[in-house]
């Protein structure tokens, strides 16, 4: 949490502003395909604050889940019990994601590159890996078939790399119109929300550009946490600080989750 010290003086943590900033991007009524962990936290925060009619779909089958606490796994019983309906996993991927019904795919990642491609597969060569990561999960098709994609992850030189060892899920590939030329339908990652700021793709080159910086964070900090020469938007904004209501809702959600699970919702 490189920005922790500064941010805490403003009475919220770097993870909290990341989560609240990510949640703000979700408009009410959006149909959102949610990954577990940070995306799920942000999406549920949106549902509990400004977007009560956001529709949360988890790859395990729940459609319209309204969990009372954050799920620890993608298939928690609470997701099933609070959903409008629970379908089989094949149907989720066939009728709902591939069917073109998802407005926003909300993903985490182990690594991203400058064109918002995602690696969750491997560090090192595929056949002799240095680190074996969990793998693709639902991400390749979420990244390609959701109308747009938000990625949320903490910013560090290990996570934000110039070149990925493996592209698990497509962002803008080599940039420019490469994604469209590859016949990928969705608009791709329109925002990468980190603990330091928000990166969005340049409209033409599709290179991730810092367009919003969290209060208390310096541009130098963000550059130092990025494995390439990060472009900074000329009209760089400062991220709005989390409002008291959202912060209270987030903390309450996490307190209830900790009480229910013994820990805060994780990956998987």
């Amino acid at each position: 949490m490189p920005a922790g010290t500064n941010a805490e003086t403003l009475d919220f943590t770097a993870t909290e502003i990341m989560t609240v900033a990510a949640s703000r991007l979700l408009k009410d009524g959006t149909v959102c395909f949610v990954g577990i962990g940070l995306p799920s936290t942000a999406a549920n925060l949106a549902r509990l604050t400004h977007a009560p009619d956001v529709v949360l779909i988890y790859e395990s089958g729940p459609i319209g889940a309204k969990p009372t606490v954050l799920p620890l796994s993608i298939g928690d019983g609470d997701l099933a019990l609070t959903a409008d309906t629970v379908v089989g996993t094949p149907e989720i991927f066939r009728y709902w994601l591939q069917g073109g019904r998802i407005d926003v795919g909300f993903l985490g990642a182990a690594q991203v590159d400058r064109f918002a491609n995602i690696n969750t597969t491997i560090i090192g060569p595929y056949d002799a890996p240095k680190v074996r990561l969990p793998g693709a999960g639902g991400a390749p098709e979420i990244a390609s078939q959701a109308k747009e994609v938000f990625i949320v992850l903490k910013q560090s030189p290990k996570a934000f790399v110039a070149k990925l060892p493996f592209v698990t899920s497509a962002g803008y590939l080599d940039g420019g119109d490469a994604r469209a030329r590859a016949g990928i339908p969705g608009a791709g990652p329109t925002a990468v929300i980190t603990d330091l700021g928000i990166l969005t793709p340049d409209p033409v080159t599709k290179e991730l550009t810092l367009t919003s910086i969290h209060p208390g964070v310096t541009v130098e900090q963000v550059k130092a946490a990025t494995g390439w020469d990060l472009k900074i938007a000329p009209d760089l904004k400062t991220t709005e600080i989390p409002d008291a209501g959202a912060l209270a809702a987030l903390r309450d959600l996490q307190a209830r989750t900790a009480a229910a699970h013994g820990q805060v919702g994780g990956e998987g």
Binding site: L72, G88, F93, R132, P134, G135, E141, V167, Q263
Partner: protein
């Protein structure tokens, strides 16, 4: 008609060395008891199939049951890595593990194709991903009407599928509800199937259009209350999140792993025995 039989007998007669075996359950209803029994009976050279290999596959891989893994996401949900899986892939311990890697969409479609007796699954998938570069079983076909390029992957066709379900009736009809995952497809795609259940009842009391596997579509039904532990069975038990966290340090080293498996699985007779010994050991470390 499914045979209602103890799990030990079902595994002995239906799971053979070298089989392609799918233990399915998407976080919910993971058939841990059956996985333990496969380990106890020392099955070898299995091709394991599973969308989300988790603790039970970490154990089976670490105990040397598996020659190959077909999967789409391998981790300890909510905690982190599967250390035995990583050790097999990264270091080849206890033996090299061949890996065939897909996306969830690919695997889910491959189960559907298997259940449908099709040789391959057709999907819009893998576009822009490097997965087709490392998996020769991801190919592409052309639509004969539009010319579009679509992904094709081989159907999943297990020799045996193993799942856990909430209940069966005395004839062996099985009811599953809640998070359904790909269990129905996995059973219907397989030549043989084992379903462990929380209980056997007189009447399933299934709602209309519930997910029911008729008895004649299942090979064996085995009563194993709590058989999904540390996963859960909706309406019967909660997920034990403590165990998922406790697994991480156990699995980190080969020695602690082997000692734990010896005490909790190899030296116990069945899943009830495992649960008793586990309760003791968790008290010790508490």
């Amino acid at each position: 008609m499914a045979k209602i039989t103890p799990l030990r007998e079902a595994v002995a007669s239906l799971v053979h060395d070298g089989d392609t075996v799918a233990l399915e359950g998407f976080t919910h209803l993971i058939p841990h008891a059956a996985g333990h029994e496969i380990i106890r009976q020392g099955r070898r050279e299995l091709t394991l199939v599973r969308m989300t290999p988790d603790l039970i596959y970490d154990q089976m891989i670490g105990m040397g049951c598996a020659a190959k893994l077909i999967f789409s996401w391998g981790g300890n949900p909510g905690v982190g890595s599967l250390h035995r899986f990583r050790d097999a892939v990264e270091q080849g311990w206890p033996q090299r593990l061949a890996v065939e890697e897909h996306s969830h969409a690919g695997m889910a479609n491959a189960y559907v194709a298997g259940a449908s007796n099709l040789p391959f699954a057709l999907l819009r998938g893998y576009t822009g991903s490097d997965l087709p570069k490392v998996n020769p079983n991801i190919r592409f076909v052309e639509c004969p009407f539009t010319g579009e390029k679509l992904a094709a992957i081989p159907s999943v066709l297990p020799d045996v599928t193993v799942i856990h379900a909430q209940k069966a009736d005395r004839r062996g009809n099985v009811l599953i509800w809640g998070i359904l995952g790909v269990q129905k497809e996995a059973v219907l795609a397989a030549k043989r199937s084992i379903v462990t259940v929380e209980e056997i009842v007189d009447d399933l009391e299934a709602p209309p259009n519930a997910c029911v596997l008729p008895t004649w579509a299942v090979s064996a039904v085995c009563p194993v209350p709590g058989g999904a532990y540390p996963s859960y069975a909706q309406g019967y038990s909660e997920r034990d999140n403590r165990f998922y966290k406790a697994w991480d340090p156990i699995a980190r080293s080969r020695e602690t792993f082997l000692a734990w498996m010896q005490r909790h699985v190899l030296d116990t007779d069945d899943f009830a025995g495992f649960r008793r010994v586990l309760a003791e050991s968790m008290k010790e470390t508490a």
